[in-house]
Subunit: 134 residues, 2 copies
Amino acid sequence: MSGTEENQGENKAFTEECHKVLMAVSDALYVIGGKWKLMIIIAMARGNKRFTEIQRQVTGISARVLSSELKELEMNGFIVKKVENGYPVTIEYELLPYSDTLEELVTAMTKWGMQHREKVKAEMSMGKSGKLKV
Amino acid sequence: MSGTEENQGENKAFTEECHKVLMAVSDALYVIGGKWKLMIIIAMARGNKRFTEIQRQVTGISARVLSSELKELEMNGFIVKKVENGYPVTIEYELLPYSDTLEELVTAMTKWGMQHREKVKAEMSMGKSGKLKV
DNA sequence: CTGTATCCTGGATGATACTG
DNA sequence: CAGTATCATCCAGGATACAG
C-alpha cells in the first residue's frame, strides 16, 4: 500500500484499478464473509468432519446457523456432505480442493488477528482503551 | 474398521491450536469484518482522502455509514482525521502506518476474490448456477 | 446424532432531509 | 463539502423445541 498521490494523468487508470480491487474484495466478502464461514473451514481443516464436532469446535454457533452455513459452503464448492448408510447412518462433511484456495487468505487473517490482539493487549496495559473479546 | 481417530495423544494439542487460530480469525473479523472497512482502507490507499472522494469510490456506501465507519477506523488506529483551518476548512483522512499491517491480508483477499469471480464465470458458462453481483 | 421449524431481537444498513 | 438526525427496514443470528 504505497502512497499513490498526484497522478493527474493516471487518475482514471487508478480509479479503474481501484474499482477492480474493490469489486474483488467485495466478492470475497460476499462468499466467505460473515462471522462463521472461515471458522468452519478452519475447524474442518483441523480434521473435524461431523456436525457436532464442528459445532463444538466453532464455539458459539447454533445448530440452525451451522446447518445453513454448511449448505452455503456446499453450494459454493468448498465442501461435500457424505452420507454413509449403515447403523447408524454416518454423516460427514469433507473439504473439497477448492477450499485450499483460501489457505493464503486464512493464513494472512490468522497472522493479522494474532498481532492485533498483541497490539491491543499492549495498549491496554498502557491505559488506552481497546476492546478485546475475552 | 477403518479410520480410527488418528492421534489420541495429539488431539488436545490440535484442538488448542485450532482454538487459537479460530480466535485470531474471529478477532480479525471483529475489527475489519463487515461490508465496508477494508474497502474504505483500499480506497484511501489509492489516494482518496476526502469524505466525498471516498464515498464516490466506495460505491453504495451512505454518508451515515461512511461517517460511522471512519470513526471506528480512527478509534482502531488505522486512520487519522486532519482538519486544516482555512477557507474553507479542509478535512482529510489519512492512513496511519498501522493500516499497512493489513496489506498482506488485503492482497490475499483481492487475489482470491478475482480468481473466484473467474471460477464462477467459468461455471456459469457451463450452465451451472452461481451468483455474482453485476 | 443431525438436523428442521419457529419465534424473536439487535444491530447493521438504507433513505431522506437537514445543518454549519 | 462534510457530516448529523431520524425513521424505516432487513436479516443474521440466538433460543428453544421438536423430528427422523
